[in-house]
Symmetry: D2
Amino acid sequence: MRIGVLTSGGDCPGLNAVIRSVVHRAVVDHGDEVIGFHDGWRGLLECDYRPLDLDAVSGILARGGTILGSSRVQPAHLRGGVETARGHVADLGLDAIIPIGGEGTLKAAHLLSEAGLPIVGVPKTIDNDIASTDVTFGFDTAVGVATEALDRLKTTAESHQRVLIVEVMGRHTGWIALHSGMAAGAHAIVVPERPFDIGELTELVGKRFSAGKKFAIVVVAEGAKPREGSMEFNVGKKDQYGHERFAGVANQLAIELEERLGKEARPVILGHVQRGGTPTAYDRVLATRFGWHAVEAAHHGRFGMLTALRGTDIVMVPLADAVAELKTVPAQRYEEAECVL
Amino acid sequence: MRIGVLTSGGDCPGLNAVIRSVVHRAVVDHGDEVIGFHDGWRGLLECDYRPLDLDAVSGILARGGTILGSSRVQPAHLRGGVETARGHVADLGLDAIIPIGGEGTLKAAHLLSEAGLPIVGVPKTIDNDIASTDVTFGFDTAVGVATEALDRLKTTAESHQRVLIVEVMGRHTGWIALHSGMAAGAHAIVVPERPFDIGELTELVGKRFSAGKKFAIVVVAEGAKPREGSMEFNVGKKDQYGHERFAGVANQLAIELEERLGKEARPVILGHVQRGGTPTAYDRVLATRFGWHAVEAAHHGRFGMLTALRGTDIVMVPLADAVAELKTVPAQRYEEAECVL
Amino acid sequence: MRIGVLTSGGDCPGLNAVIRSVVHRAVVDHGDEVIGFHDGWRGLLECDYRPLDLDAVSGILARGGTILGSSRVQPAHLRGGVETARGHVADLGLDAIIPIGGEGTLKAAHLLSEAGLPIVGVPKTIDNDIASTDVTFGFDTAVGVATEALDRLKTTAESHQRVLIVEVMGRHTGWIALHSGMAAGAHAIVVPERPFDIGELTELVGKRFSAGKKFAIVVVAEGAKPREGSMEFNVGKKDQYGHERFAGVANQLAIELEERLGKEARPVILGHVQRGGTPTAYDRVLATRFGWHAVEAAHHGRFGMLTALRGTDIVMVPLADAVAELKTVPAQRYEEAECVL
Amino acid sequence: MRIGVLTSGGDCPGLNAVIRSVVHRAVVDHGDEVIGFHDGWRGLLECDYRPLDLDAVSGILARGGTILGSSRVQPAHLRGGVETARGHVADLGLDAIIPIGGEGTLKAAHLLSEAGLPIVGVPKTIDNDIASTDVTFGFDTAVGVATEALDRLKTTAESHQRVLIVEVMGRHTGWIALHSGMAAGAHAIVVPERPFDIGELTELVGKRFSAGKKFAIVVVAEGAKPREGSMEFNVGKKDQYGHERFAGVANQLAIELEERLGKEARPVILGHVQRGGTPTAYDRVLATRFGWHAVEAAHHGRFGMLTALRGTDIVMVPLADAVAELKTVPAQRYEEAECVL
């Protein structure tokens, strides 16, 4: 068999582990040939690739980033993108393409699959918001990094007698906020799935101070928003330079809580540090298993499918299901977290 | 409600997180009273305990060990143990007992439950070998510690052009060996579930050297054994001081591989470092959820049950099932690992 | 002897290690009595303290923060502060006071010492900018945290083909920027000691892209400023809410470099995570030695002095010297760093 | 200039950082040519080398091991070794050779230097026992790894109510034992510089148990020995297989303390994990500075010298001084540590 692999979208710890695993399983166990496209779909559309043998993937298991590069190019966005891709797949004699990517990438994969290309997808997102799979690789690393930061911030908040509003990743879902907040013992967790009431939040944090505690940690997902009418909120409001970047939710919450509580409140934005660097053991194992099963699926002709974790098993699910809707934090999980706030 | 909690058996990262979660859920959300028995079942049998309120569990989430202490005392081993326990439960007016422990502890819990005591178990083992639950807390931390050690050992093995035989925990099952070996890119993984043939193992490692590589890492679970007749093997053979402790599998494998390969081979025994210290975020979240659900189960009268992870859900399963047999590494998981050796 | 100890100013990993060491050396080896004032100088001024015995400092060595609390209260700022302090020292029968703190604290210590109080200072700052000592505890931890973040950010910058401007602590000096930038292999390091020319900086980063590299990491100390006339710069300019906090140097540099380079540039502000949490082994050892020697100095009547590291020795230096001027990054150190940019 | 660099002896975190720094300083700032010999002195003796340009050292700063390989070959041990080396230096037109290594390597460097070869040495040892320099790179990483292990072992020792005897590296000196023991709050530290009296050690540990504590951690350097007549001690005694490896000091201490204290005692041997893997920020900075200054020394014709840290400065010291004697733990440092045991 001849297999093409590519990584697309934002950085995510574990990408290299998938690539390595695909190459090992395909080359060693099946005698396949593997090529890697550069910079995601761009490489496929421009026929920019290189062969991947065992040496090419030696030593990359624990490394962050992706040796193939990435981009946000999507075939559907380019006129004739699908046809170009189909042509290159034929020219290169590819029997399978394994795109590793997030929601956008999987939608593109689904589109190409519908158009008849032999696609086996591997889901990738630190946000953990892809339906059909219990967990995605990269999430555990992101939660680990956020938790370690929160562990450190706790002593500082305590020493300085402050409220710290810590913004973690999660534009549409609150998984990282939920898990890192639970793991670090945050005193409030704010997620996009439950628009917050600024009054209630103030009360929750205020209760801690009334009980004699001298600090509080609030974890907030970057995509969290106030309940309508709860407070003025400037989504993407521009700063003095015309950039949107300084008006995030943590900044606005810090200002609001400081005024309402009469306690010093400071925003901390963890940012990109959550999505780079060496993956945790958990993510390396999951990524390796995904790579293995993607090759198996290709060999069994199970195209139009996606690798997914269900319990302790890796199963194949239709790409169509995976992109149908986001996996959000269910009420029950939020309730579990609340008890220890 | 009045709830007694205890921790029993060996150290395991996440014990304190369970205790804290039990207290939070019970006290804050249900208005319960919680007491903690000292040193596992010993505390129950000798009525040695202390009240646990929110202050008592403040700041313990990320701490290793157990604030309640532990022991290997088992009620069934003591004459009249069950009756004594029953008497103290009555005297103390306990409505529920939540023992947190491994296989032995859960067997004792099952016994007491059969004898009519209101027990809700929480499984605990870094070995991950308890059936009925996908994962146990402590396992992720153990794998993380072992993987970090393996990451470090790799550069040393390479610089010194050696074979390193790294012994990880796992007396009966190879879960830690499998996961840390996969995560760190070991070149051979030896687990108790598959007695090894020393000839095959030598060949596998030898192939690396033939291919021009200058070092190899073999991960071996402490409970691994050779296939019968494959090599002389001294289970628990005594050393010159009359102690069994120096004749472990890594030591014997190092000697054997060195002779057969003609390459320097050294044993490294990771030991207790895998079972202590601060838990990973994964383990803190899982432990916290177990504690929450154990309290819920008690309030719903679901005694004789055990908290368990199934996929992303916490479910209650009969204690009888949990102790029926060990969860071993299935052949499929081992095959997945092999492709990247 | 009767010794009072206090911690003052911002959080700094190693504070608890000093407190523990003071208590151990004083109580165990000298049979002294030790009391700890709450919240820095406030505790002394308001006679708010507690006795510190061995149990009180058990288990705190590796913990961030300070068990005594801290504040920014300075005796000189309060009318009659010095007299009040003197009175309480007499009332409590204290033979020595050991304040642990940064520049402001040491100035206050110097003042009280001049006024005749028996003071032995211990320097504390993550910024490493106190003259008279080679290193201060907390600095190594801060550099370690920043370096780990930079290691992670590198793969993300590479995957996203971006310039990342990473702001680290250092209001007046660039020690953290210099060391973390060198340790992580940053491509430019910007420190307060050398106002930057935005043109030169653009050129330096631009050369990387011309050479075919796809990303760059710029480490910048929070106190860095452009050379006069080099670019518009808004020190502490207010944001739309009237707060100064969003107009830091990393934000402004990101905007400027993006425009000049035509490459996506993003600011990352590491913030408080650098000053909290468990200290590195290096900082624990240094802090422990400072505590030991502070007690020795007290017993030898060496008041008005400060513990300091010189090479591998702990020496005592006059408080007057320590507060005379900041220790800045010398040109030679900056030149060493440049070669690997 | 044409410079040859080589790494010799055991693995040590920071080797790659030195190599990278030598290449950057030499190539970028001086326009030199650099070659790297493979496997230490062997590469020089067999003229086995490769050119090192900026690409060759890209991405290696944070990596453990050495890209050049290492060996324990010493020129003086080979007949005609010095002459062979001299011949190759002439043939290759080398103006300077920078060997990076430990005691043995520096002795060889001294020998070659005496024979007229243009040598600038860089000291390397995790043991920190080279005189003339305050610290060697690799030491901080080793101490960090040992401290992290000790932090974890503490909770396990406590839960299991045991004495743990933790053996760390240090064949001739106790620096790692001293620093990791102080950093982790060990209850006894045993170093080669002070032969231990088993009776006194038993008493010291026993006092903890008498005081109601339930566990103890003893850190022991691998080269520690009992005071003569204090206990039977089998240096390098063979095990049942004729190997010396199982009769280390931790094992013998565990047996002895268990018998004398009547408490369970277990040995833990940290081993190679201390000398591999990614260096700490501290070690990366020190290694980078050493590389920079080695190139400067070569350009100033300062041959027969060694880079050394003195306070915060890098200075050059004669190779002769560096190899004259080991730097041992002075009594004063040991006394400082004792107060917190």
